[in-house]
């Protein structure tokens, strides 16, 4: 007998209205995709039952590629074309990659972002990452046998604006609708917090393959507030492999000069490191230039070799506690995330610093993807209201260059987002009619020590004596952590603005051309996709507006209700057609027509928050 299905309270009973949203952990060494199914967030396995996808892309002949386990297995044999740990290159220039000389790739020093010369041509890290994301997208679509509504992708909390933008570009290239980028430690905290129903202050120590993050979060009634975050965007398990490999080569008086040997000794070091998680002794064994290399290593030796790396993470932990003006005893629990936290020396060092053993009861490889899936489900509107809210922060201070190559910070690090801040500047010379705005990210005093995000000019300032013009520069960071900057001369109203992406991100035309170059599809597919996207958006707006009418329709008089109903009817009629531009226009008209309604609903929500009562009680 078929059992009757009962939908959860607050969830829509219509199965077609449930939007499929997934969380993706785009990791340095491996990536995962997770989704909420039957009320439980879990990682989606591939056809062979493996949840993990190694983040390795190998370019073959004839525009073919291998992604995942096969590519990883071929790394030592085909080092220049099997790209691993590409996340370390996202949004970076060649000069930013300290150890590029020891890596087996053919780097291309391009302005903006480094690229890799492969058998299939020059590939940017964005394109390589898009291959990984597309693989996970297909896995999810196969699992649900349906298109994805949207995706939440995790990034290290310490990723700067360029790295975040590069990640978003990769998702766009893979044909994914990004609902939100969230920080990996926050995602982990969501998975832990909801799992253990915890409250209080938690530290999340996240040591992945290529990045280290430390975040302090306060959990209270479903609200996850990031208090402070810090870390090192270029420190991870790969560095432990490298340190061990360098040590072993020195012990054996050998060198790894060819691309093959460089990769082979790293693969061997990684295997030895993993063995030492449970064993007291291991042997680093590899074949270099036809000669075997075999170096025995004990766990104690390994711990000594890698101690400076662990110490660097502890430095960041102490800094973040100072930033938050908190002591270690304020922390209720320490959550360990990332495969590298399996190293016993790491667990011992973190335990000693906080004076308590860290929590390791969730799989450190999967916990980030699971948290992202929970947030994706909430953002897609599938979760119950008021269940989950993430309040994240700006990881690095944002500022402007002023006279003398100094940085004036406009938004301090650890400020809760979204945030907008304005600061007034003035002219330096008499009759100055233009002003160069140089946007920077970082904590240092000198421009040269910070990361340059964008430059733009405000022109047409009326000539005045020096110091008379008043130029207001506004920084805005949205809920994804992405920055836009605008400048306006207050007297004349001259304006200029920039969405920060020029020097590192890809221009929209570049993405369009990559899409055309056979990444995703042919022209016909593009049109079909545009239509599908427009229809999804139309459906989304319709559902949201109907829900709002049910909940807050009493804020409208009859004429206003009728006007909105008319817009809904128009949209319904047009969405049934094939003209995606017309659908977009109708969606926009509905959005405009409900703007005032939205404002009134917002107001009612705020009144409710203040009185702490439900509307029904008022």
């Amino acid at each position: 007998m078929a059992l009757l299905q009962i939908s959860e309270p607050g969830q829509t009973p219509d199965p077609h209205a449930r939007r499929i949203a997934v969380g993706i952990d785009l990791g340095t060494t491996h990536s995962l995709v997770a989704a909420v199914r039957h009320g439980v967030a879990e990682c989606l396995p591939d056809a062979e039952g493996r949840a993990i996808l190694p983040s390795v892309v190998r370019y073959l002949d004839d525009n073919r590629r291998q992604i995942g386990f096969d590519a990883r297995a071929a790394q030592a044999d085909d080092p220049e074309n099997a790209i691993a740990s590409v996340k370390r290159f996202m949004g970076r220039r060649l000069a930013d990659i300290a150890d590029h000389g020891r890596l087996p790739y053919r780097f291309v020093d391009q302005p903006g972002m480094v690229a890799l010369d492969t058998r299939a041509g020059i590939k940017t890290p964005v394109e390589v990452s898009a291959e990984i994301l597309a693989t996970l997208r297909y896995r999810a679509e196969d699992t649900f046998n349906d298109d994805l509504f949207g995706v939440v992708i995790t990034v290290p909390a310490y990723f700067d604006d360029a790295q975040r933008q590069a990640t978003k570009d990769a998702a766009q290239l893979a044909g994914l609708n990004v609902l939100r980028l969230i920080n990996e430690p926050t995602a982990a905290a969501v998975a832990y917090g909801l799992d253990n129903a915890s409250e209080g202050l938690y530290a999340v120590y996240d040591l992945g393959g290529g990045t280290f993050d430390i975040s302090l979060l306060r959990l209270q009634k479903g609200v996850f507030e990031v208090v402070a975050t810090g870390g090192d965007a270029a420190l991870g398990g790969d560095d432990f492999d490298q340190a061990l490999a360098d040590w072993a080569l020195a012990q054996a008086h050998r060198a790894a000069d060819t691309a093959h040997d460089k990769r082979a000794v790293l693969v061997a070091a990684r295997a030895a490191k993993e063995a030492l998680t449970t064993a007291d002794n291991a042997v680093l064994a590899a074949m270099l230039s036809g000669e075997p290399l075999a170096v025995p290593v004990s766990r104690a030796q390994f711990d000594t070799i890698t101690r400076p790396l662990v110490e660097r993470t502890l430095l960041a932990v102490r800094q973040v506690l100072r930033d938050a003006k908190l002591k270690r005893d304020d922390v209720a629990g320490v959550v360990m995330v990332g495969g590298s936290t399996r190293m016993p020396a790491v667990q011992a060092a973190v335990g000693a610093l906080f004076g308590r053993p860290p929590l390791t009861n969730l799989n450190p490889d999967e916990v980030v993807a699971v948290g992202a899936a929970i947030q994706a489900n909430a953002l897609a509107g599938n979760a119950r209201d008021g269940e989950l809210l993430l309040l994240d922060v700006v990881p690095l201070s944002l500022g402007l260059e002023t006279m003398g190559g100094l940085v004036e910070r406009v938004i301090e690090r650890n400020t809760t987002i979204p945030v907008a801040k304005a600061q007034d500047f003035t002219t330096f010379k008499d009759g100055q009619t233009a002003m160069a705005i140089h946007v920077l990210q970082g904590e240092r005093e000198l421009v040269a020590d910070n990361r340059s995000l964008a430059r733009f000019e405000l022109r047409g300032i009326p000539p005045m004596v020096a110091g008379a013009a008043r130029i207001r520069v506004t920084f805005q960071v949205d809920a994804d952590g992405l920055l836009s900057v605008a400048a306006r001369e207050q007297g004349s109203g001259v304006e200029a603005s920039v969405v920060v992406k020029p020097s590192y991100g890809l221009a929209d035309e570049q993405i369009a051309s990559m899409l055309k170059d056979g990444f995703a599809s042919a022209e016909a597919d593009m049109v079909a996709r545009a239509l599908r996207e427009s229809r999804v958006e139309a459906e989304r707006m319709t559902l949201a507006t109907r829900a709002a009418l049910v909940a807050d329709g009493n804020l409208l008089d009859d004429a206003e209700t009728l006007a909105i109903e008319a817009l809904l009817a128009d949209l319904g009629r047009i969405a049934a057609g094939d003209d995606h531009a017309a659908i977009d226009t109708a969606v926009e008209q509905l959005a405009e027509g409900t703007e005032d309604f939205a404002a009134r609903r917002m107001n009612r929500g705020i009144q409710q928050a203040l009185t702490g009562r439900k509307l029904a009680d008022i």
Partner: protein, 172 residues
């Protein structure tokens, strides 16, 4: 409720310096739960824009209200006495002497323990000055004295920032 309402009205709190930090944080979370753009993720661009404006406004108010120094400065401004620190640099001699003594102590501090000890001393002094600020604003209603106290506290806050930077440098 308007975007242009003052921070205290927005948070439903009395216009005074004394604030219950836990209640303030709870209010902030409740407000963000209502206005955050994520709450409108499945709605259109117009709702997103509006939510963004409100979320930014609520965060800005919270930043000001949770810091006793910024809160004090904001109250002075609401009561018609802007701080204008750059045009009001005159400070009592005794206060300036103490500042100099502290700066010398920081220069002479040999290790993190010495800097920490100095920070503890400064923190005690800061707490006393903040209590005086609360009294000037909430009890005596002397806004001019409060504004002067805010300016003095700005020196102390800047000095504590220097202490924090020194501690970070010593840790390296």
């Amino acid at each position: 409720m308007q975007l242009s309402d003052d921070d205290f009205t927005l948070f439903g709190l009395p216009q005074q310096h004394a604030v219950d930090a836990a209640a303030l944080a709870a209010r902030w979370r409740a407000l963000q739960s209502q206005v955050h753009p994520d709450r409108f993720a499945s709605e259109g661009a117009a709702a997103q824009r509006l939510a963004m404006q409100w979320a930014v406004r609520v965060n800005a108010a919270y930043q000001r209200l949770k810091d006793p120094l910024q809160r004090g400065a904001y109250l002075c401004e609401l009561r018609g006495v802007p701080i204008q620190a750059e045009n009001n640099t005159a400070m009592p001699g005794a206060f300036l002497m103490q500042q100099m003594a502290w700066r010398e102590a920081l220069d002479d501090a040999a290790d993190a323990a010495a800097v920490d000890m100095l920070d503890d001393t400064v923190a005690v002094q800061e707490a006393t000055m903040l209590a005086q600020l609360t009294e000037a604003l909430d009890v005596r209603g002397d806004t001019a004295a409060a504004a002067q106290q805010v300016r003095a506290l700005m020196f102390v806050a800047r000095f504590r920032g220097d202490i924090a930077r020194r501690l970070s440098a010593l840790d390296r």
